[in-house]
Symmetry: C2
Subunit: 378 residues, 2 copies
């Protein structure tokens, strides 16, 4: 028999089983679907090395409605995707997504595969430096919102957040190039606002505009960010595509914060990709220096175990690729910050968006949260 | 009160309700989440026109486990996304994906919004012409597979499919640039194989290589396709990003067939986006001339009603954007073709992949299915 390729991905899938279906048979079907798209008997000898292989199958806890499930470890030929991270995602879950009840639980990344992806250009230390916070404390990120304001109106909010002590200020991800605040104009006035605030405070707050559009639009928009002095941007990797984000990370000189838009489609308990793999591993490999996710207890139902695993995956040593900041978000109440700073540790960016807008004075509300983070976030 | 923007998207969402939750309250929360990310009282007057609005809420059938649900029609400001189709997808479902039980059932597209998207460059008639099938009959698409074969091995299979009478021959979507069949080499030898077969048959079979990679890779790969004479390609819009696909469609001169890789993450009955909207409307607006989907009765559990609606959305008049071919696939048995030709009609491309490889002679198996389609597919 043929020998599998070196450096395979070992992927652990949770498979929900139909009545009478064996975990082994189901795992084999998945392994073929993700590689040959033929049953093994129809795969010529010369192509057998690229065939997915079932390494192990265990039975798993049944789901809430009592359906049986299996945990299958499948070996997939990483060579098939080469250095193409979007193809790697397709190798993990492309057609699998169309089978019933398949979830990517975890992936073992061989060093040789990781070596193909540069990962974050700045990482935790680099982004700290860019934001002027070299000391090891948690950071505060504010949000310029809402969609519908003009560029000068947004700039005033950016200024208030920076004067109040936010370390980073991002656009809402829905504010890309709306007629009320067109990209080219908005990034100039918001960057000018943050620069003016920085001169007043002596700080280095970073403004991160939402970056999206056609590849040719991205080219001029990145050039525009360079012109106005922006050093970082917000991207939505599942909207832009992982390879587009990877190229921006590698060539733009911008630090990137990832937004989880659309990712919730992948987070069913029995179908999809675990947040640790999708937002943790893959967004980091795509070159994101910080990754936003909804934190437990906010307005999205995101289990605490997911946040913990995701934050670990972003920060853990991974050979070449630098660690990235976890950015808990999604309606964190300012009052919870002290507790969260304690549990999440200093290598965290707290994204406090809407909570600051509930108070009468945005700058003062920001200052209060910023001082909590400065005092407790070590 | 402020006036909403003209030309809003009217989006019908199915919302699974928690115990005691009202459909109205839930719909309002969603409308805010997708636009202001603030509660309405915190949205300044000048931004109210961009706020999502609840137009109507009806109660829906409970789901299989008896949970209550509502059907909410929400008006969203299409202006926010402008001509950016990926941002439009984010406007429809970005943060919504992270709420529990939200499904986009349908979208009413205003003509002014549609006018911003060129859609398919070839459409059904143009792709027919490219494939040398101007007469109104169904088309046959074969697949060059499996992953793991060398370029010359794949080219021999491409030749057999073309000699047998396939109108189109696509790469498996997992075959992009693997070391066993690198892109630059593969597309040359496979295109040469199809050209030689076309000279023998007098036909115009089209070869569609898988196109993926970094934006800068796409540039040279598209150039390479031009060099070797390829006129069409296979893309996976959810891996590449909708805007990347749109730019390829608008500027490459290639006809595009879309692969549904990853789309199954969106197809839970109570969470995600209906296939008619995602694969039908959005892939068509991104410029895909043909869209592959798993047909009912194959190896993926795809309800017949989804296929029917999807095919309708691809073909229906839509003002500017040309109609696109539905491409039923996913393990269609050759024996089912006569029945399917009858129900799906002549503006259909049948993708018969693995079924042809189960027979000893690929060319002869192709010829048999091709003659069925030629005889019955009108």
């Amino acid at each position: 028999m043929s020998v599998p390729l070196p450096n395979p991905l070992l992927v652990r899938y949770r498979l929900t089983l139909a009545d009478g279906e064996s975990g082994e048979a189901r795992a084999l079907r998945l392994a073929c679907e993700q590689t040959s798209e033929l049953t093994p008997d129809l795969v010529p000898d010369s192509a057998q090395s690229y065939l997915g292989r079932v390494v192990a199958v265990e039975s798993a806890e049944p789901d809430l409605s009592g359906r049986r499930a299996a945990l299958a470890t499948i070996s997939l030929p990483a060579e098939a995707a080469g250095t193409d991270l979007a193809q790697l995602l397709v190798l993990l879950y492309g057609n699998a997504s169309l089978q019933p009840g398949v979830r990517v639980e975890s992936v073992v990344w061989p060093a040789q595969v990781l070596a193909q992806f540069a990962g974050p250009s700045f990482g935790i230390d680099g982004l700290r430096e860019l934001a002027g916070v070299p000391e090891r404390r948690a950071l505060l990120c504010g949000a310029a919102k809402p969609l519908g304001l003009s560029s000068p109106q947004l700039a005033r909010r950016v200024a208030a957040l920076a004067l109040g002590g936010a370390d980073l200020i991002k656009d809402d991800h829905g504010i890309s190039d709306p007629p009320c605040a067109p990209f080219a104009e908005r990034v100039a006035v918001c960057q000018e606002a943050v620069a003016r605030a920085n001169r007043a405070t002596g700080g280095s707050a970073l403004y991160l505009p939402t970056l999206s559009g056609l590849p040719s639009d991205l080219t001029w928009r990145i050039e525009r960010l360079r012109e106005v002095g922006c050093r970082a941007a917000l991207v939505a990797p599942l909207a832009l595509g992982l390879e587009t984000v990877r190229e921006i990370a590698a060539s733009s000189g911008l630090a990137l914060m990832a937004h989880p838009a659309l990712s919730g489609a992948f987070f069913a308990p029995d179908h999809g990709i675990s947040p640790a793999v999708l937002l943790g591993d893959l967004f980091r490999l795509a070159g994101c220096d910080a990754v936003i996710y909804p934190h437990e207890g906010g307005r999205f139902p995101f289990p605490a175990a997911w946040s913990t695993a995701l934050a670990e995956h972003l920060r853990a040593p991974l050979g070449g690729p630098l660690p990235a900041f976890p950015v808990p978000a999604g309606g964190i109440a300012a009052a919870r910050v002290p507790e969260l700073v304690g549990s999440l540790g200093p290598d965290t960016i707290f994204l406090i968006g809407s909570a600051l807008y509930g108070e009468p004075d945005l700058e003062r509300a920001t200052a209060r949260v910023a001082s909590v983070i400065r005092e407790n976030g070590r």
